[in-house]
């Protein structure tokens, strides 16, 4: 990227109200550093404590999803992208990461229904999953409580959005992008 592109990139980020953008290697240390930074930025706003909690929660769920589910590349590195910003009176948190093509349908099945549920339906589904003690035995791919996407949907103030992007240079991987507005 040359300086002209970089200055355009910076101007675009400002225009979109971006507070925070990261792309690259994901590790425990990177997440810890981002958590600190985001905390400081949120604490310097006049947002209510619940709003700050929801933004931070969405950031944590998305970051930990990347840590849990992204396959390390040939150098053993997990790669993902994450952005937090503010425009149109709402905060947004977005993430993007590679997923194996065979998992695309599984992700769609989990995320798509959340887009049409009311907040009460999301809370009911969250409660049911919280009380589902068989989750670990039933779902061998899931590494958590099966509550990640539900938590993101519950904290969002409008339906979560997602995109699957196929790039021709990688046959076995697609890119999964998720956006939540708070």
């Amino acid at each position: 990227m040359n300086l002209t592109s970089f200055s355009e990139f910076c101007a675009q980020a400002v225009k979109e109200g971006m507070l925070f953008y990261y792309t690259g290697e994901y590790s425990k240390n990177v997440i810890a550093a981002m958590s600190d930074t985001l905390r400081h930025r949120l604490d310097s706003t006049s947002l209510s404590a619940p709003a700050r909690r929801k933004i931070f929660s969405t950031f944590v769920e998305m970051s930990q999803n990347i840590m849990h589910y992204v396959d390390p590349d040939q150098d053993g590195v997990k790669v993902g992208a994450l952005a937090v910003g503010h425009n149109g009176g709402k905060y947004y948190v977005m993430c993007g990461n590679p997923v194996r093509v065979e998992y695309v349908e599984r992700i769609k099945e989990k995320v798509e229904p959340l887009r049409t549920m009311t907040i009460d339906e999301i809370k009911t589904a969250y409660r049911a999953q919280l009380r589902n003690d068989e989750h670990e035995e039933q779902d061998e791919i899931s590494k958590g409580a099966g509550l990640g996407f539900l938590t993101v949907a519950r904290d969002a103030s409008e339906p979560i959005e997602y995109q699957i992007v196929y790039r021709s240079e990688r046959q076995d991987f697609a890119e999964f992008y998720l956006r939540a507005a708070i």
């Binding site: 425990k28 997440i31 810890a32 958590s35 600190d36 209510s48 404590a49 619940p50 909690r53 931070f56 929660s57 944590v60 769920e61 930990q64 840590m67 849990h68 809370k123 409660r127 919280l130 009380r131 958590g144 409580a145 509550l147 990640g148 539900l150 938590t151 519950r154 904290d155």
Partner: protein, 130 residues
């Protein structure tokens, strides 16, 4: 039995489990990437303690969490579940779930626990103003 004392870190809460005074307090924030690693020893300690504690002991548990991630959610519920089982077996337990007074979702979470674990005396209370 040995008390369990774990200082808070950026992503894990402070834990004080004092057998001598029969009190368990979990305070702070809980968002470790793998909550099982953090909570499994505590759950084991609580399980063993509840199995051997006298029915005369007055046990108190305080859950005072500003924020917890989805991975911690199930483990916190499992601690409440252990307390509920012990209450059903005749142990005297009072539990407290504290939430941010402004945060309805965290309050609802406490009420959901009350609904699910009916035997346990579980009070859902706003945090004291700082």
């Amino acid at each position: 039995m040995q008390d369990i004392l774990i200082p808070a870190t950026a992503e894990t809460p402070e834990v004080k489990f004092l057998y001598s005074t029969h009190t368990l307090s979990i305070t702070g924030e809980s968002y470790p990437e793998n909550a099982m690693v953090f909570y499994a020893p505590l759950r084991g300690g609580l399980h063993d303690y509840l199995a051997q504690v006298s029915e005369q002991a007055k046990i108190e548990a305080h859950f005072s969490l500003k924020y917890f991630n989805s991975s911690s959610t199930k483990l916190l519920r499992s601690l409440i579940s252990l307390l509920n089982d012990a209450a059903r077996a005749g142990k005297k337990i009072t539990a407290h779930w504290y939430h941010d007074p402004e945060d309805d979702m965290m309050m609802e979470f406490g009420h959901d626990l009350q609904d699910e674990f009916g035997t346990l005396e579980l009070n859902v209370t706003p945090f004291e103003p700082a």
